[in-house]
């Protein structure tokens, strides 16, 4: 693959043709909010809708995780439209998130906190009411805690669990009810989970976390 040059926010960046724009930016120190993109996946999930950027020649903002870079590409990570869209998407996600940073395992390393800081957004939604779903925390596994109320449906745990060879986790249900769970909604402790911790390592927020063995 050939070396090419692209421009992000007026900065020249060299990348390899066909690289994904999101990673090219991040690897060169340009931050773009993102939750669902995964380096090893060939096809982007493009579901969190936070990585929007402006691209020259494109009428509307595009998710950076869906773009393969080409020579001479001109990108800006910020614009009024992008900022408004990202702010709206982030507020939607946070309106459906059990916010409790003080007691959260991810506090300090949380991707949501990072996005809020980078883009100067509030963690607690200003305009939208909280959508409560009353999903119980699963503490049935020896070394893993799962709080679906914090899950942002990025899918990293599903991929990590699969790569670990266990493949216990998956998405089920549609629409607003969509959720990450085990086969047949069995509690983790009864699903074959041996607390390997792959999910917790992959989770960008505090939905999956490890806990000290009892």
């Amino acid at each position: 693959m050939s070396e090419i040059t692209i421009t992000i926010d007026d900065r020249q960046i060299s990348a390899r043709e066909g690289d994904i724009l999101l990673w090219a930016a991040l690897d060169n120190g340009v931050y773009i909010p993102h939750l669902c993109a995964h380096r090893e996946e060939e096809h982007p999930s493009a579901s969190c809708r936070l990585c929007f950027v402006e691209m020259q020649g494109r009428p509307m903002p595009v998710p950076a995780c869906t773009v393969k870079v080409a020579d001479g590409m001109v990108v800006s990570t910020r614009s009024e439209r992008v900022d408004a869209l990202v702010a709206a998407g982030f507020e939607l996600i946070m309106s459906n998130h059990r916010l409790d940073c003080k007691n959260c395992a991810a506090n300090g390393s949380c991707e949501l906190q990072r996005i809020a800081k980078e883009r100067k957004l509030r963690l607690k939604p200003k305009n939208l009411p909280a959508l409560e779903r009353d999903l119980p925390v699963d503490s049935s596994a020896a070394g893993i805690l799962y709080d679906p109320g914090k899950c942002v449906l990025c899918g990293h745990c599903v991929l990590a669990c699969r790569s670990s060879g266990r493949g216990i986790l998956g998405f089920t249900r549609r629409g607003y009810e969509r959720i990450v769970t085990t086969f047949g909604d069995a509690p983790l402790g009864e699903s074959g989970c041996d607390s390997c911790g792959a999910c917790a390592g992959a989770c960008p927020v505090g939905a999956f976390s490890t806990r000290k063995a009892r």
Binding site: A46, A88, G89, N127, L131, L153, G175, Y176, R178
Partner: protein
């Protein structure tokens, strides 16, 4: 393909066609009775009509053929029956209720009395009776894909062959794929599945994509509630889309095709499966079609029903055995589709135009409709319109013509309020937009969309906030939940709309709705989310004052939102002794006052509407009032008198 076997192909075809024509002529050598028995006809009693007619013929020892056919589109008049009687005009009958069918058959076939009082219209021009073309509807209607629907037996391939079927496939075998693509491109045919993408361009992209293995898929998922155009074609003329799909395959370079039909269409599944099987038996599908070097096979795939599975990438995922959830495009299916292979996906209607375009030419197709949207549009007219059912009209027909001439206007003498076009993600257009011509671009510009052709006519009694809530409720429930904006944005929007229809709206809600709607539209991954806000945006654009009445005054101007109305009996109008309302009330909320005038106990009333229906039309004493507190005022007013 080598021109050397065009002779083989046409010889094989001529043989099939000659046999079919002979059968067709024989069929018409004695009286022929057609009963429209697609799903719509069956719901209206077509199957018992069929039995009744057969029994009558047997009783009278009459030699006539009775056939179960598909739907002509006059669903409002079902059950529908057509009689061919040598020496008499061919007549189409409507509203053929129990007993009537037998009577028409008896009178017409034994005494030559065609039973004009039951006739809808004659099929061909004659001296006695008007044809469909003589009615306003006929002036606008211009049937292409529905031309044969209701006139041939969908289970008999010979009927299709005898009336010109599969001759376009023969033509396609005799030319090159490139020429087919050129013709379809020149015709300007745009996809009827909703997005209006040029069909020829899609085929060309697939043809030019790398790889030997390619697929064509007919999208017959038709998930829009109230839409049944595709079902009608599948049930009434399945060979038309099979021929269209075969031509698409030849053009795109595919040897394998699928028809993705929703499992909720059992009759369509049955008829398409039979059609595929008989086409194979005749050598019109399968290996070396009609002796040519073209191989093409079709398999049915039954979709399990989720609305979003009609979206092409979700449809492919579901065919691959994965959850039916959309994927990011590009790549488009024409480049990487089923199993990663180049795949053409076309709607039933799009494919059904193709045989006609190949036979009659691109120029002919362009002589209908507009420059950018040639051809016809098929709508399922529903709601408060007199003639519900299917109508095929040229693009460029205005909404007014479609509703008031083809549909014969608003039912029950009410006033038109709006028309909701394009399925659940379509928009609501008001009176002032009625002169909008029907075409892809004009409808989008007006704030609605062509969609798949659902059209719901709304009258003065329909609350536009409730209508917006109703449609958004559908799309919100059908969201796959993958992406943030659609999953959560539509949920918040629905919550707000529910609040407003319950009288708990806040002044800032309108701005919030607008903001959410525009972000869901811009930010969603697939077109379900991108279009879901349309009903909300269009009603906010054209009927904002109704939202404001709900929010600011707690009033539903159309008296539809239950929480914002109360039932009230007008003392001056109540006849006192009829008591009809009292008996109809399920919760005993109606009592006599000292003058025996009926009064509703508002605490008890559950707003079921029964008393309003029960009160005889000469009194019309029960009314709805909004906001509900008005009742107290009215009662007080009366107390003073």
């Amino acid at each position: 393909m080598g021109n050397n076997n065009t002779a083989v192909v046409s010889a094989a075809f001529e043989q099939l066609k000659a046999a079919a024509q002979q059968k067709w002529e024989q069929l018409h050598s004695k009286p022929l009775i057609l009963v429209g028995a697609a799903t719509c006809g069956r719901a209206a009693g077509a199957l018992s009509l069929l039995e009744e007619v057969k029994t009558e013929l047997q009783k009278l020892q009459l030699d006539a053929t009775v056939l179960e056919v598909g739907c002509m589109g006059h669903c409002y008049a079902e059950p529908v029956m057509v009689i061919y009687n040598e020496g008499f005009p061919t007549i189409c009958y409507g509203y053929v209720k129990e007993g009537v069918g037998a009577r028409i058959v008896r009178d017409y076939l034994t005494e030559g009395d065609p039973g004009i009082e039951f006739a809808l219209a004659a099929i061909e021009p004659n001296d006695f009776f008007p044809t469909f073309q003589d009615f306003p509807r006929g002036v606008y209607e211009n049937k292409i894909v529905m031309e044969q629907c209701g006139f041939i037996d969908p289970r008999d391939i010979d009927h299709y062959l005898a009336t010109g079927g599969y001759s376009a496939l023969v033509k396609a075998l005799e030319t090159t794929p490139e020429e087919i693509i050129e013709t379809v491109k020149a015709s300007g045919l745009r996809g009827r599945g909703g997005a209006g993408f040029p069909t020829g361009v899609k085929w060309e992209t697939c043809r030019n994509s790398a790889g030997d293995q390619k697929y064509v898929i007919c999208n017959a998922d038709e998930g829009d509630p109230g839409a049944f155009m595709d079902r009608t074609i599948l049930e009434s003329n399945p060979h038309l889309l099979i021929e269209g799909l075969a031509i698409a395959a030849r053009a795109a370079g595919a040897e394998k095709g699928y028809v993705y039909i929703r499992a909720e269409y059992p009759l369509a599944v049955e008829r398409v499966a039979l059609a595929v099987q008989t086409a194979k038996e005749k050598g019109l599908l399968g290996k070396s079609i009609l002796g040519s070097d073209f191989n093409f096979d079709i398999e049915l795939f039954q979709g399990s029903g989720a609305f979003v599975c009609g979206e092409e990438t979700a449809l492919i995922a579901s065919m691959e055995g994965q959850p039916g959830i959309p994927r990011h495009r590009p790549p488009f299916p024409a480049i990487s589709g089923l199993w990663g292979k180049p795949t053409v996906i076309n709607n039933v209607k799009s494919l059904s135009y193709v045989p006609y375009i190949i036979n009659r030419g691109a120029e002919w197709f362009r002589s209908n409709g507009t420059e950018k949207s040639p051809g016809t549009a098929i709508f399922a007219l529903a709601g408060k319109v007199v003639n519900t059912g299917l109508a095929e009209v040229p693009m460029s027909t205005t909404l007014r013509e479609l509703i008031f001439d083809v549909g014969s206007g608003i039912a029950n003498g009410k006033n038109f309020k709006a028309v909701q076009i394009g399925g659940p993600s379509g928009g609501c257009l008001p009176e002032e937009a009625l002169d909008t011509p029907i075409d892809f671009d004009s409808l989008t510009k007006a704030g609605a969309m062509m969609g798949s052709g659902g059209m719901v006519v709304l009258d003065e009694n329909d609350c536009m906030v409730e209508i917006a809530r109703f449609f958004l409720d559908f799309t919100q429930k059908e969201s796959c939940g993958k992406c943030t904006f659609c999953r959560l944005g539509t949920k918040h929007m629905l919550d707000i709309l529910e609040r407003i229809t319950k009288g708990r709206g806040k002044p800032e809600d309108i701005d919030m709705l607008m903001e959410l709607a525009s972000k869901v539209r811009e930010g969603s991954l697939c077109n379900l989310g991108k279009t879901a806000p349309n009903p909300v945006l269009s009603t906010l654009k054209y009927f904002r004052e109704e939202y404001e009445a709900h929010i600011n005054e707690g009033r539903c101007p159309s008296l539809m939102c239950k929480d914002l109305i109360a039932y009230y009996i007008l003392p001056d109008k109540c006849e006192r002794s009829c008591d009809a309302c009292v008996g109809s009330c399920p919760v005993e909320a109606i009592y006599d006052n000292e003058d025996r005038i009926k009064v509703i106990n508002q605490e008890k009333c559950v707003k079921c509407d029964s008393c309003m229906v029960a009160c005889p039309p000469q009194y019309k004493a029960v009314i709805k009032v909004s906001p509900p507190y008005k009742v107290a005022e009215m009662e007080q007013e009366r107390g003073k008198k």
